[in-house]
């Protein structure tokens, strides 16, 4: 449940001047990104439950309105694309040792996140 709280409630708007907080936020971002990656990998290789954290949360709380059974393959394809994108992002992030590369990594991270949000929103609403 702590993780759910972190997903839904953690606010990134803390004091940017605070050096310790900067490191903390950077680590939180990295942890969230790795969590996202691991979750997608488990979903793609096995399935939503009982191993994928978001799958377990969804199954537990959405059991009563789980809907009918359908093929998981199109969704696994989407999640596999998320995995590839996130791995590329992590690689860029890791290799960014100059200001220029850092800017590029940041910019692609933002674009990627907007893409994920748009795609996941479409999945949540229309399921395609």
């Amino acid at each position: 449940m702590g993780l759910v709280w972190l997903l839904l409630e953690t606010d990134g708007d803390s004091n940017p001047e605070n050096g310790a907080m900067k490191g903390f936020q950077s680590r939180i971002a990295l942890i969230l990104l790795i969590f996202f990656l691991v979750d997608c990998i488990i979903f793609t290789l096995i399935g939503p439950s009982p191993f994928s954290p978001t799958g377990v949360i969804s199954t537990y709380f959405g059991w009563k309105s789980r809907g009918n059974a359908t093929s998981i393959l199109p969704y696994k394809a989407v999640f596999a694309a998320y995995i590839v994108g996130t791995c590329i992002l992590l690689d860029k992030w890791n290799k960014a040792d100059t200001e220029e590369l850092m800017k590029s990594a940041r910019s692609s991270a933002q674009k990627q996140m907007v893409g994920y949000i748009t795609n996941s929103l479409l999945l949540a609403i229309f399921r395609f």
């Binding site: 950077s26 969230l32 969804s58 537990y60 959405g62 009563k64 809907g67 009918n68 999945l123």
Partner: protein
């Protein structure tokens, strides 16, 4: 009509068919097949006829009620029918099917997670701290 059926069956989302045997709600097609597989069908058709409750809501089969109210994390849903080729593998190997609405809920969680990450990356534009190299 669908609203009335949802209310009478006391279900959240309506798919077809919905099976009622001797006045007792048994579930959808999958649930009926499960009933047949579990050899409960002969018992159900011998049960006395159950009438609707006073408020008009149809009573549920007890086994269905226990399955519906208890989340089963280890159950891989089955798609059954003509031309269906999905293998019925256990939960710990590659799963081929999913409950449709779970995809929606997982996606909502992912939107929340991505939103959080986007906020972090935007914040870093000002602070040069987030999405910075970890070394």
């Amino acid at each position: 009509m669908q609203k009335a059926l949802k209310w009478q069956l006391n279900i959240f989302d309506l798919t077809f068919p919905q099976v009622v045997i001797r006045g007792r709600y048994v579930g959808g097609a999958d649930d009926l097949l499960q009933v047949v597989e579990d050899d409960r069908f002969s018992r159900i058709i011998q049960d006395p006829v159950t009438h609707c409750r006073e408020n008009g809501v149809i009573s549920w089969d007890e086994d269905l009620l226990s399955v519906a109210s208890r989340p089963d994390l280890f159950k891989v849903p089955r798609v059954r029918g003509e031309g269906v080729w999905y293998p019925n593998w256990p939960y710990y190997v590659f799963q081929w099917t999913v409950h449709a609405n779970l995809i929606r809920y997982i996606s909502v969680l992912q939107v929340s997670l991505s939103r959080r990450l986007l906020r972090f990356s935007k914040l870093e534009r000002q602070t040069h701290a987030i999405f910075a190299p970890m070394h």
